[in-house]
């Protein structure tokens, strides 16, 4: 498609347009320098770094345990999985055990957070291309998740809940029933959401066939998570590099099949996330069933934490695989920590994919890749 558009569009007059850093639809502080001929872009060059908070540098200046609240800020839309990544990396480095109930609570909170993160991603995507109503509907659901997470850890966005060797608190009284009740409430909401927007003809026509990413290209550019699965690559860290208690749970990965257009187009990336809501709900339910029979211990704090060596942990976050590479030199602080995040690599793709798109479609492309500025810059 883009080749045809480009062939007709070449009037030879190129305009340079600045978009951002403070632009409502760039999902945070990101800047694009767009070279455009009329409405058709020749190139959109992303310029990142406006939200760089030196999180990797901070990791060298505080203890392993003390760094946990900072990991929330790696990705504040899905902070729980960032907590999990750091905890897992340090546990792998220092060979620490995690009580079974701690693992269950980690997975439950991860999946709840994934639901709320996808709610933001999908809601914001619709709003970016002009549908305001679903955003309000779905943010109401996100409020419920925030309430549930607030009840278990005291915070609504930056949780600081996971600990090295477990989680900070157990389940409050009645929380399990509340979560299960909310799961029952949310299932029909997904169906309603599908009727309202997912299968809406205007919406489908706007997104189908747009900026399709073939599987080989997705792998080459390092797309991960839902973006990768939307391109038809059947890979999920939770299943293929199993961690925590995921091997005990049953779930099906959602794949983009190109049912509305090409495989890996913006609609596929959207749809995969809707399906992941259903997966996460089922995972939460299975965990809640199995957690009953586990011993009540949820945290085994390490006595002495001065590991040596290096380790890499991979976790399936809402924006795809988040991995943390941590080097220890036998002191209480990390010698070097590196977070590899999904949005960072997804942003590289935008320059390549933007050729021949309309300016207005750039917004849909960014939204469909679900990039979040703090996760790009860290």
């Amino acid at each position: 498609m883009s080749e045809i558009v480009l062939a007709y569009a070449d009037s030879g007059e190129e305009m340079t347009l600045n978009m951002g850093p403070q632009h409502p639809s760039t999902h945070g502080v990101i800047r694009f320098i767009i070279k455009t001929d009329g409405e058709i872009m020749h190139e959109a060059i992303p310029d990142v770094g406006y939200l760089h908070r030196a999180i990797e540098g901070i990791s060298e200046k505080c203890t392993y345990e003390g760094f946990m609240p900072y990991t929330d800020r790696v990705d504040y839309v899905c902070a729980m999985t960032a907590n999990h990544t750091w905890a897992m990396a340090v546990e792998k480095l220092a060979d620490l055990p995690v009580p079974e109930r701690g693992e269950y609570l980690r997975v439950i909170t991860d999946e709840l957070n994934r639901i709320s993160s996808h709610a933001v991603a999908l809601g914001a995507m619709e709003m970016d291309i002009g549908a305001t109503t679903p955003f309000m509907y779905i943010l109401r659901e996100r409020e419920y998740v925030n309430d549930l997470l607030e009840e278990i850890c005291g915070a609504r966005l930056t949780y600081n809940y996971h600990r090295i060797g477990g989680v900070g608190w157990g389940m409050p009284k009645g929380w399990r029933e509340k979560v299960l009740r909310w799961c029952d409430h949310f299932e029909p909401v997904i169906a309603e959401f599908d009727r309202l927007i997912t299968m809406n003809e205007l919406f489908v026509k706007r997104l189908a066939n747009m900026a399709a990413v073939p599987a080989a290209e997705a792998i080459d550019y390092g797309l991960v998570g839902p973006n990768l699965r939307a391109s038809g690559v059947d890979f999920d860290v939770r299943r293929d590099v199993p961690y925590s208690i995921y091997p005990k749970l049953k779930f099906q990965t959602a794949l983009g099949t190109g049912q509305m257009g090409k495989v890996g187009d913006c609609w596929d990336r959207y749809w995969v996330r809707v399906e992941e809501w259903r997966q996460s709900l089922s995972l939460v339910r299975q965990c809640m069933e199995q957690i009953e029979s586990t011993p009540p211990d949820f945290w085994k704090p390490p006595k002495k934490l001065k590991p040596k060596g290096d380790a890499m942990a991979r976790v399936e976050a809402a924006r795809g695989e988040m991995s943390c590479y941590v080097v220890g030199d036998g002191t209480a602080n990390a010698y070097r920590a590196r977070f590899r995040t999904g949005s960072f690599n997804a942003m590289q793709l935008i320059r390549h994919k933007s050729r021949g798109l309309m300016v207005a479609d750039l917004v849909a492309l960014i939204a469909s890749l679900d990039v979040v500025a703090p996760e790009i810059d860290r």
């Binding site: 770094g49 060596g309 991995s323 942003m347």
Partner: protein, 184 residues
């Protein structure tokens, strides 16, 4: 394939450009590579039908001033074969240079730029080696262990007074002054 057979396979093909395979005392098995041969090794990693490392997961540079070297650590994963490997390259600290692998994996592009920006590793042959996180005219590479931040950048101070320093001033206040403060 497990890490040992991956290394053996590589060593059979490339001789001594790969060395020091380590599985003990490490969580992820790794081997070291000679920086000047890195591009050849990387090409085999990607294209060999037995290996097929199609996903360049992560690139990290680690500064070791005491050993006066900078290590570049690559993490690879193969979607088809479902195996992983870690490759380390040791570079001299005063002139850290290594061939870029952007021509093989596009995912390496920004990762290499970030390591160049924060750690000062020069990736030879990178198409667009600019700073990515810091401003273009920022002096130094912030993640180096001996990095000292300049006092100001373009006339803007990089530090601000610590509010905790004001506390002794309040402690030393006379009872009258304290009362005055409270009344306000």
């Amino acid at each position: 394939m497990d890490a040992q057979s991956i290394f053996n396979h590589l060593a059979a093909k490339l001789g001594d450009s790969v060395y020091d395979f380590t599985t003990t005392a490490t969580k992820d098995p790794y081997f070291k590579v000679k920086p000047e041969r890195w591009l050849d090794v990387a090409r085999v990693l990607r294209d060999d039908p037995e290996l097929r490392f199609d996903f360049c997961n992560n690139i990290t540079a680690v500064d070791w001033p005491k050993l006066s070297r900078i290590d570049v650590v690559y993490h690879f994963w193969s979607y088809g074969k479902a195996h992983a490997i870690v490759v380390k390259a040791e570079l001299p600290r005063d002139k850290p240079q290594i061939p870029s692998v952007v021509s093989l994996w596009n995912a390496a592009d920004w990762n290499e730029r970030e390591q160049y920006d924060l750690m000062g590793v020069e990736f030879l042959g990178h198409p667009d080696l600019r700073r990515i996180m810091m401003p273009d005219d920022w002096p130094g590479h912030p993640l180096r262990k001996d990095y000292k931040e300049a006092e100001s950048y373009r006339g803007m101070p990089t530090t601000r007074p610590n509010t905790m320093d004001l506390l002794p001033m309040f402690d030393k206040a006379t009872p009258e002054q304290r009362k005055e403060n409270n009344d306000e």
